[in-house]
């Protein structure tokens, strides 16, 4: 930057004679969150390697599990693929929620949130925006899982509308689970720790569930956990919506978990964010 350039074009208007102060527009949280969600999307677009977890993992897991365990667990790879795909989708989508806590934790270290916090926008907007922007990751998981599933021979046996409802339910669940990840991201010091803690949360949820095996094969003490496990209900809902398995109350249980996660963890995350120095 040369001194001459600085002198030449004056700042177009002096701050005191400022252009009319922007008038207050309605729904600041929604508008500002959307603007910040767009920021997340641009970031995702710029760093496609950050999408590896949600694109390659379902592919690898499906291939490995179907061909290794298929014969032993379900008596055939085709049957097991039908059984496993909704489970893998739920597992990957849940793990996809880890990234947001990690990313926000890194963002906080960089000071970009100081800028947001010094602006006259709702304090929660940067978090709500980041969580909303992550929808695109969950959509990619879903597409990626179905794409490889179809190549391997998976078929939806219900109707497209039910299938879409199943996918939306999974994405909704991931958005709600994100708040746990955001909360952890606000609480711990390093992004590595966020990853570690969230992995410890997601791991038992994915394995002590109906994702990989029918729950009837599990010991009875574990079945109690499995019956409460939100992933169990999500997977059962998807099996119902994709394959016509009995739905029971699983969709309601899943929705109840969604509400519960948001009601508990969103305020906690926002509070931790406000306190974060």
């Amino acid at each position: 930057m040369s001194t001459t350039t600085l002198d030449a074009p004056r700042r177009p208007s002096t701050p005191s004679a400022a252009a009319p102060r922007p008038t207050k527009r309605p729904f600041p949280l929604v508008r500002h969150s959307l603007a910040l969600a767009k920021r997340s999307l641009i970031k995702t677009w710029r760093t496609p390697e950050a999408l590896i977890d949600v694109t390659l993992q379902p592919i690898i897991f499906l291939v490995i599990f179907v061909y290794i365990f298929g014969g032993a667990v379900a008596g055939g790879t085709q049957e097991y693929l039908q059984f496993l795909l909704p489970g893998i989708l739920a597992q990957t989508i849940a793990q996809g929620a880890i990234a947001i806590g990690v990313n926000l934790n890194t963002d906080l270290e960089k000071g970009i949130f100081d800028r947001f916090r010094s602006l006259p926008i709702p304090r929660s907007a940067p978090l709500v925006g980041a969580v909303s922007g992550d929808v695109v990751r969950y959509v990619i998981v879903t597409i990626s899982t179905f794409a490889i599933g179809y190549v391997m021979g998976f078929r939806i046996t219900t109707d497209p509308l039910s299938a879409i409802a199943g996918c939306l339910l999974a994405i909704l669940f991931a958005l709600c689970l994100s708040w746990v990840s955001v909360f952890v991201g606000m609480k711990v010091r390093t992004s590595g720790a966020v990853q570690g803690i969230m992995f410890l949360v997601i791991m038992p949820l994915s394995f002590a569930s109906n994702v990989f095996v029918p729950t009837s094969s599990l010991p009875s003490w574990m079945q109690t956990f499995v019956a409460w496990n939100p992933l169990t209900h999500l997977v059962a809902s998807m099996r119902g919506l994709f394959l016509g398995a009995p739905l029971g109350n699983h969709v309601w249980w899943t929705l109840a978990w969604c509400v519960g996660l948001v009601v508990v963890f969103m305020p906690l995350a926002l509070r931790a964010y406000r306190k974060k120095v």
Binding site: L6, P9, R10, R11, P15, S16, L36, R39, R115, L119
Partner: protein, 325 residues
């Protein structure tokens, strides 16, 4: 006549656990002026800025910015201020233009206005060529400029600059100074923190020196220099055998005595800017060649030594403990 105070803080207190970051700090800045807050690392400068810019709530005391209380009316304060942090807070994955447009949209300028404003600022900060590259490809100086540009999107009346030149090389520092000067010419009020007396002297109308969370001096740059001593002229003759002759000349141009501060380097306090020219003329007349001739303001360490009797870098745990008790 009452002065129009844009920033006024009284008795600000902030503790982080055992660390007493601020122990009752008063600050005041009149409209259209620059206050330099001078202090070493850990003095509490950044904490004060974070309180005034509503990022932190003080444990005690009160502060008003643009007439609004930073705690009760934080939202109004945020509409008045621009903040440039110590660590350039730009989004590295976004381009320079996207960074500025995002801030514009968040400030409710509307999409079209946000675009216009972003382009204006990019032009003004000489970033137009780099506007559409991700900020992570920017050099340190460019990042600082983008960060400063981001804080100006909303045409704030009050601008906080937290160590705007730390880590910049000297030529870039001058550029940043020019930017600050033109902001003030345009009517902005600026509070800037710095570790360099030279910087505060170059930019500020008044200087507040803080140390261990307390104000230890407040004065105009000239007043402060009267206390801590003005400039020092340092001379190193090429021929060491002529050190005595050089010292004699230095004594003539100044009223002080010439000390040998390092091997072969003489230092003498000078009170006016002509001393340098006079010295050069007399040295030339005496035929004394020099390898080094420079004019210095006291360093932060020297300022602190004069004001507190100890150096800024000394970690004075005993004082802190006593205060804590």
């Amino acid at each position: 006549m009452t002065t129009d105070l844009v920033i006024e803080a009284e008795g600000l207190i902030k503790h982080f656990g055992e660390t007493k970051a601020l122990q009752g700090v008063d600050l005041s800045v009149a409209r259209g002026t620059v206050l330099g807050v001078l202090g070493p690392n850990g003095a509490g400068k950044t904490t004060a800025v974070r309180i005034l810019s509503t990022l932190l709530v003080p444990d005690g005391g009160r502060a008003r910015v643009g007439g609004f209380d930073v705690v009760k009316d934080a939202e109004r304060v945020r509409q008045t201020i621009g903040l440039t942090g110590q660590y350039a807070s730009v989004d590295e994955d976004l381009t320079g233009r996207q960074n500025l447009q995002l801030i514009g949209v968040l400030l409710d300028l509307g999409k079209a206005q946000a675009k216009v404003r972003a382009a204006e600022l990019l032009e003004w900060f000489d970033l137009t060529d780099a506007a559409d590259r991700p900020a992570k490809t920017y050099s340190g100086g460019m990042r600082r400029r983008l960060d400063l540009a981001a804080s100006l999107v909303g045409r704030p009346d009050v601008i906080f600059l937290d160590e705007p030149t730390t880590g910049l090389d000297p030529s870039k520092r001058e550029d940043m100074w020019n930017v600050v000067r033109s902001l003030v010419d345009d009517g902005s009020t600026v509070l800037l923190t710095t570790q360099y007396l030279e910087e505060a002297d170059a930019l500020a109308d008044e200087i507040t020196v803080i140390d261990h969370g307390r104000v230890i001096a407040h004065d105009t740059p000239d007043g402060l220099k009267r206390i801590v001593g003005g400039q020092t002229l340092e001379v190193r003759p090429s021929d060491l055998s002529r050190l005595e002759e050089t010292a004699a000349i230095l004594r003539q141009v100044s009223d002080g005595r010439a000390d040998e501060i390092r091997k072969g380097v003489l230092a003498v306090p000078v009170s006016n800017d002509e001393a340098m020219t006079a010295t050069v003329a007399r040295l030339a007349a005496a035929g004394i060649a020099v390898t080094e001739l420079s004019l210095h303001l006291p360093s932060l360490d020297e300022v602190f030594f004069t004001l507190t009797g100890r150096t800024a870098s000394e970690d004075d745990t005993t004082t802190t403990k006593e205060v804590a008790a």
